[in-house]
């Protein structure tokens, strides 16, 4: 009877530990708050100069037990101008493993699009960080915010098993 009681308790604790041992992490390591990109200048004769921002950093621990990836999507009703994002993952020794995808154009209601893939499931490669580099662009033909109002994006990053 005691064996049964203790075994049951042991089993419960084992399962709880197993769940805790597989905990993933995905967070903003820097920034993450609202950002405004202002396209506000041009060289005479050329299209307006892009605006960029690289103040946001992601951190992840892909403890899924399987290869993992990060995807991106956005919602921006009445979008008039163009917004792009890419993830810059610097060399981190054995950490930060994965494949950086080319710069992605953020279009209202787009499907989740791969941003960083093939994150291994084992240490040290499964842990890493990278900088989100946003780029806003507008041609003269796209007008200005006086005509269309600003574009407001809610950009969503999803961390999931591949």
């Amino acid at each position: 009877m005691n064996h049964l009681r203790y075994s049951t308790l042991l089993l419960i604790l084992f399962v709880a530990f197993r769940q805790d041992a597989l905990a993933q992490e995905f967070r903003f390591n820097a920034g993450g708050g609202p950002i405004t990109l202002a396209v506000q200048s041009a060289i005479a004769g050329s299209e307006p100069t892009d605006a960029t921002d690289s103040s946001t950093q992601l951190y992840w621990d892909a403890n899924f037990g399987v290869p993992t990836k990060i995807t991106v999507s956005t919602v921006s009703i009445n979008q008039s101008f163009r917004l792009y994002v890419r993830l810059n993952v610097p060399s981190q020794g054995l950490g930060g493993q994965g494949i950086v995808q080319p710069e992605i154009e953020l279009i209202h209601n787009m499907a989740d699009t791969d941003l960083f893939t093939d994150i291994p499931s084992t240490l040290p490669g499964r842990q890493g960080f990278g900088t989100l580099i946003y780029r806003a662009a507008a041609t003269v033909a796209e007008g200005n915010s006086n005509e269309h109002l600003d574009d407001v994006h809610i950009v969503t990053y999803t961390f999931l098993a591949q």
Partner: protein
């Protein structure tokens, strides 16, 4: 009242988003240089033939005319036109007289002074003086060719008359 407040709030918010239209300027330097310009053109050639006389008098002079056009931007009031010939008329003719004479009377453009009838030779002489800046065309040139019996005869001979504007 609530509707008015909502509309007023919306207007204030929208005004905050409107950007004042801007102007953008640039400049560069443009220079205009006016050089001294003196241009004269004679309308056409002239032919003079002495072919008759009244018995007992010198041969009858021959006369002919043409015009000239002139442009000068010298405004000093001292611009003049001189004239000279390629060959001394007095040296022409097969007689002993050496007295063939070619003269010209040049009308003056507006503002200038004609020198009247001037006997031409190889040395330039004033035919119009005291011109200011002017641009005028079809100004008269009147030629007179005179000879005496002693001049003798002269086959058709070209004489080039050169007019020069001097500031």
């Amino acid at each position: 009242m609530k509707l008015f407040k909502s509309v007023a709030l919306l207007a204030v918010l929208f005004m905050g988003m409107v950007q004042v239209a801007s102007a953008q300027s640039d400049n560069h330097v443009v220079s205009v240089e006016i050089q001294a310009i003196n241009e004269i053109a004679i309308a056409g050639d002239v032919s003079l033939t002495i072919s008759a006389a009244t018995a007992g008098s010198a041969p009858t002079p021959a006369t002919a005319g043409t015009t000239y056009a002139i442009t000068t931007n010298d405004s000093g009031g001292t611009t003049r036109i001189t004239a000279s010939t390629s060959v001394a008329p007095a040296s022409l003719g097969d007689g002993p007289g050496n007295d063939l004479a070619l003269s010209v009377s040049a009308a003056a453009p507006t503002g200038g002074t004609s020198s009247g009838s001037v006997t031409l030779g190889t040395v330039a002489q004033n035919v119009v003086t005291a011109m200011a800046a002017v641009s005028e065309s079809e100004v008269a040139l009147s030629y007179t060719l005179t000879a005496t019996a002693a001049t003798g005869q002269l086959a058709s001979t070209d004489i080039t008359v050169t007019y020069t504007i001097i500031n």
